[in-house]
Structures are given as C-alpha cells and as structure tokens.
C-alpha cells in the first residue's frame, strides 16, 4: 500500500468561494486528507499539495489576484512550490499565481465582456504531467467555467517557450478536441485554458475541475486532474522509498 493519505491544503482568502467545493473534491470524493488554510498562515510544510481555489479574493479590487498575491500565505506557497510540492490554482487561484509570478502571463477581461458561466471542453495538450497523467493526450474533458477575467495573455516569447516545452496543458476545444476560434471561451491567446511552470509542479487553469467530480452533478471529468495529482504523489513517494538512504 502507498501508506497514508495525501494531504491537501485548500487556501482560503477573503472572497474565496470555491474553497468548499475544492475541499469536498479531494476530501470526500477522493478520500484524501483535506484542510482549509487561512490566508494569514505562514507554514504549509506539512501538506503534499496546495489548492488555490476560485472566488473573488479581495473583491477582485485593482486586478484579479493582485492583492491576494501579497497575503502572508503566498510566501509559504512560493516556498513549497520551490520545494517541488504540487500547487494547483483554479480560476481566481490561477489569477493569483500569475500575479505572484509563479506562472507566466496575465489575465484580461473576457473578450465578450461577459461573465462566462457554462461547460466547456478542454483539450489535454500534455498528458505526461503531474496533473494530467490519468488523461490521454488530445482527450477532451468536459468541465465548467465561471469567470469574467480569463482572457489569457502572454508575451510571444513566453508563448513560444511554453509551446516548445509542453507547458500549455489545456486549451479550449470542441467536444471532439479540436482547438477552434469558436471554442475559445474568452479570447485567450491560442485558446489557452491552463499552463504549467517549467519545474512541472505548479498548474493554473481557469476551468473548475473541482466542480466536475461526480456524475450526479453533471460530469466527473475533473476527477482526472486530482487523480493524476494523487498518482504523481504516490509515484514520488515510491521513488523516495526505493532510493537508498
């Protein structure tokens, strides 16, 4: 047996509103250990993974994620990310990771100027990551979005680098997994819905996999993301165990 459950921290900022969904997703559905962590906390060393959930931290004042990025907890998130812990930022969590510089790029207002709240299909661009190892490359995942500022922008140099290194993880696509202009939910550069850092342990995505965990609630494709994290963690543990002391 793997021995023990994976420990997830769900960070709660003033204005987070998907924190309970995230806790339910990994705690109840996946049966792992999940705890809320307050934005004032400064030590996340005992967790295996950190979830920055969706919401409207600090009322989205100034820019989405701009204020939350300076919370005490973000220094701890940065530290644990540096140690290779898995970090996933969902929606507002993604925006915070961008503002913190843990992922490249920035968010603009949706090109429609509307709050977009519906299901989308995400093409899995790289199935060899800690967040997608349970998916097939090219697979289309059905997951909801709910945001007004998800129009991803990155400098051409960053886009080229991310494409070259396989760091673009999800793109908005058709149900068949084709990346088309019509499938672009918000005007994002190159239909980008989720990106990963070079070290491969920090993922940010606008769609909400934690809201797609159970068939009863309209679909469970989001499970693949969290199950991938679990598998990556178990494999990491296994590697640590076999290496000589």
């Amino acid at each position: 047996m793997s021995g023990g459950r994976m420990k997830f921290a769900v960070v709660v900022f003033p204005g987070s509103n998907c924190d309970h969904d995230a806790l339910h997703a990994v705690g109840e559905v996946l049966g792992q250990e999940a705890s809320f962590v307050w934005h004032q906390d400064t030590d996340l060393a005992r967790y295996d993974a950190i979830i920055l959930p969706g919401g409207f931290s600090y009322g989205d004042y100034l820019r989405t994620g701009a204020i939350a990025r300076f919370s005490p907890v973000m220094a701890a998130v940065e530290r644990e990310a540096g140690r290779g812990k898995l970090v996933i930022g969902i929606c507002n969590g993604f925006q915070i990771l961008l503002e913190a510089g843990l992922l490249p790029g920035a968010m603009r207002r949706n090109d429609s100027l509307r709050f977009q709240c519906h299901h989308v299909y995400l093409r899995v661009e790289n199935a060899g990551t800690a967040f997608t190892n349970r998916c097939r490359a090219g697979q289309a995942l059905r997951v909801p979005i709910a945001h007004a500022e998800g129009n991803y922008h990155a400098e051409p140099a960053d886009l080229a680098r991310m494409n070259r290194k396989g760091l673009v993880i999800f793109r908005y696509a058709t149900p068949a997994g084709e990346v088309t202009p019509e499938a672009n939910a918000n005007g994002s550069a190159e239909n980008i819905a989720g990106v990963m850092n070079e070290a491969g342990n920090v993922l940010g995505l606008m769609p909400h996999p934690e809201r797609a965990m159970e068939g009863l609630l309209g679909g469970d494709d989001g499970r693949l993301v969290f199950e991938s994290m679990l598998a990556a963690w178990k494999e990491g543990k296994a590697r640590v165990q076999v290496s000589p002391a």
């Binding site: 820019r63 490249p104 603009r108 207002r109 140099a157 080229a160 005007g187």
Partner: protein, 376 residues
C-alpha cells in the same frame, strides 16, 4: 522576435566610434557590437578602455529592459552574447537629447554654474548630431528651421526623455548612484519614434551617491584613472538589487532640498495605469463601439452629409456636432491618487515608481505613469 531566439550577425553595415553595426537576415534588425575604443571631445582624444564594450553592452541591456518594462518604446530586441545587442533598424533622427539633473560638463562652461549644482528641475537640451559642426546646441525653433523633426516629434522626444530620467533615477537611487545627466538618441521605425542607441557609462554621468566619485566616461575625458574599474562598478550596481540606505546625501538631485534634511513633506501622486498598446483592450473596444453609436465612429467621411450619422441616433444631439469629431481608438485604464510623506521629491518618486511596478500595474500587460506634486 524574442529573447532566446538564435540570431546571427551578417555583413558590416557601418562602423562608428564606439560600435559596429551589422546587417542581419531579417532586414528589420541590426546586430550592434560594442567596441573597446573610446573617443572624447568630438574625436580629438582617442584611446581604448579594456572591456568597455562588454560593460556598456551589459549596462545598456539592463536599462533598455527596464525602460521597456516601464512602457518606454525602444529599439531593443534581445541581448546577443557578451558585447552585442540585436535591435530594430531605425532611421536615426539627427538630434541628441540630453537630460540634466545636476550641472556638469558643457553646462558648467556655458552657464558659469559650478559643477555639482542641483538644478531646480530636470533640463532637457537638444543637440544637432553633426560632427563637422561639433554637435551644436539647438532650440526647438532651430530644429523646426532645419526640418530635423516635427514639433510633435520634438515634444515626444522631450516627454520620453523626462520619462526615461524618472525611470532611471528611481532605479539608480537605491543602488547608490546619482544620475547627473545623460544623452539619448531616437529614430523612426515604421513611422513610430523609438528610443535607440545605448545608455551606459559612455553616455551618462553617474556619481556615487555618498562619495560623489565619478563612475563614467569623465574618468577617461579628464584622465582621472581607474576607468575600467568605474565601468565595472556601474555594471555591478545595476545588476544587483537595491541597497537600503544607499541614497546618501542626495547631492544634486533636483527637488532634493538638502536643507530640509530629516524633514518629511507631503506629496500627492496621481497614477495612471493603462493596458499596453500591444495588448487588446476589450473594454476600450466596447467603449469605442458605444461612441460609434453616438455618431463618433472612426473612419466616417468628413463633414459632407453633415448631421447624417449623428442625427439618426435620435434624441437632441444638435449641440454635439458629432460629424466633425471622429474617435479612432479608445483605451480604458485606471486612475489612482496617493497621498504620501517623503523627505524629498526624489524619494517620493522612487517610492511611487516602486509601488507602480510591484502592485499598481501589472508589467506583463499594463504600463503606467504618474504625476507628483507637493501637497499641503
């Protein structure tokens, strides 16, 4: 076009006093190689400064990246090794723009003010880039008479030069360097004015904030010795982070008001943040659409058919005369007012700039500017 891309230098296009310019495969780009040769006094004094090319290229790359991040449009594309930079090819305007914060060099000779005198506000000067004439000082009317640039371009040059001054001073002050004066060159690229040339100890005067030691080409001009060390010291400071308490006694920075040492003054900063021109602005586009509905659309005909477009929208708009005014673009940004206390204008400027970079604007997609004034 990006950093990280592999570039190759082609045929030599031009060799100047301090640089060699090579063509590249892309006709829009040039490869600029920095030489160790040094000249002064219009080429009357010549020499070599060991590794000057390296120091100047490196310092210039740091400054141009900083300026680009701060929203100043420049020719810089990428660093290319230790002594070379890839730039956009410009049609250089024959005007040198000099910004002075403290009296030094020719300004001391021309005005009789002693070197080191703080100027009450930054002074911008224009010089005719012409070796035969010895690069004479010009005023705006001379520039117009010689047709060297349009009045609008001159205004833009001056505005940009002052902006560069603000950005550089805010960056250099916490690194213990006083920016005494500097020279800029500009050029046209597809109709747009871009900052060109270099910004380095060859084109600036830097004094150590505490000792007032000269760390620039004046060491070569005046045979002060230690030229290489001074250039290396500038590179070391601009490559490292800010140092607390590095500002020193602020000789000479305009508005520093050394007399008010220790005292704190109140300032009002008005900060403007907007999306970079290169970033699509969905809100601006929506506003533009609404303005079009009001009859202010771009691209409409002149005043023929007066009243046609506007009157059709309905309501009483007769006073507006929308047919005569067309809006071509709209950008939506943010405006903030900050009230702060700081001992000097320099200090206030440096702090507000830091706030802008780290919080108020997101440098990936936004640019900013601010105005600072004394408050009651």
């Amino acid at each position: 076009l990006s950093e990280g891309q592999v570039f190759r230098a082609g045929d030599l296009l031009y060799e100047g006093k301090a640089k060699r310019v090579h063509l590249m495969e892309d006709p829009d780009l040039v490869w600029v190689e920095y030489k160790d040769d040094a000249t002064a006094f219009d080429g009357k004094k010549r020499g070599t400064i060991r590794d000057k090319g390296y120091f100047c290229a490196q310092v210039s790359v740091i400054f141009f990246r900083l300026l680009e991040e701060s929203g100043v449009r420049t020719h810089f594309v990428a660093a290319a090794g230790e002594r070379a930079v890839v730039c956009r090819r410009l049609a250089i305007l024959p005007i040198e723009v000099v910004v002075r914060n403290v009296v030094a060099g020719s300004l001391a000779k021309r005005t009789g003010l002693p070197e080191g005198t703080a100027l009450p506000a930054a002074v911008v000067e224009l010089y005719y880039k012409n070796d035969e004439l010895g690069d004479p000082l010009l005023n705006d009317e001379h520039v117009a008479a010689l047709r060297l640039a349009t009045p609008a371009q001159v205004a833009e040059l001056k505005r940009t030069a002052l902006r560069v001054n603000g950005v550089l001073r805010a960056f250099l002050s916490p690194r213990g360097l006083n920016l005494i004066d500097f020279k800029l060159e500009f050029g046209l690229h597809q109709g747009t004015v871009l900052l060109g040339d270099e910004i380095s100890p060859d084109t600036c005067r830097f004094w150590d904030a505490k000792t007032h030691e000269k760390l620039d080409k004046d060491r070569f001009r005046r045979d002060l010795g230690g030229v290489e060390d001074a250039y290396a010291e500038v590179l070391r400071r601009v490559s490292s982070g800010p140092v607390a308490g590095a500002q020193g006694a602020a000789v000479g920075a305009p508005g520093a008001d050394a007399g008010a040492a220790g005292g704190s003054r109140r300032w009002l900063a008005r900060v403007f943040v907007s999306l970079k021109r290169t970033v699509l602005d969905p809100q601006g586009r929506a506003v533009l659409g609404a303005l079009e509905a009001l009859g202010y659309g771009g691209g409409g005909g002149g005043d023929a058919g007066a009243g046609g477009a506007g009157a059709g929208v309905g309501g009483d708009r007769s006073a507006v005369r929308p047919d005569r005014v067309r809006v071509d673009d709209a950008r939506v940004g943010k405006y903030m007012e900050l009230s702060l206390s700081a001992a000097s204008e320099d200090e206030a400027r440096a702090r507000v700039d830091d706030m802008c970079r780290r919080l108020l604007a997101n440098p990936v997609i936004e640019e900013y500017r601010f105005e600072l004034e004394r408050a009651q």
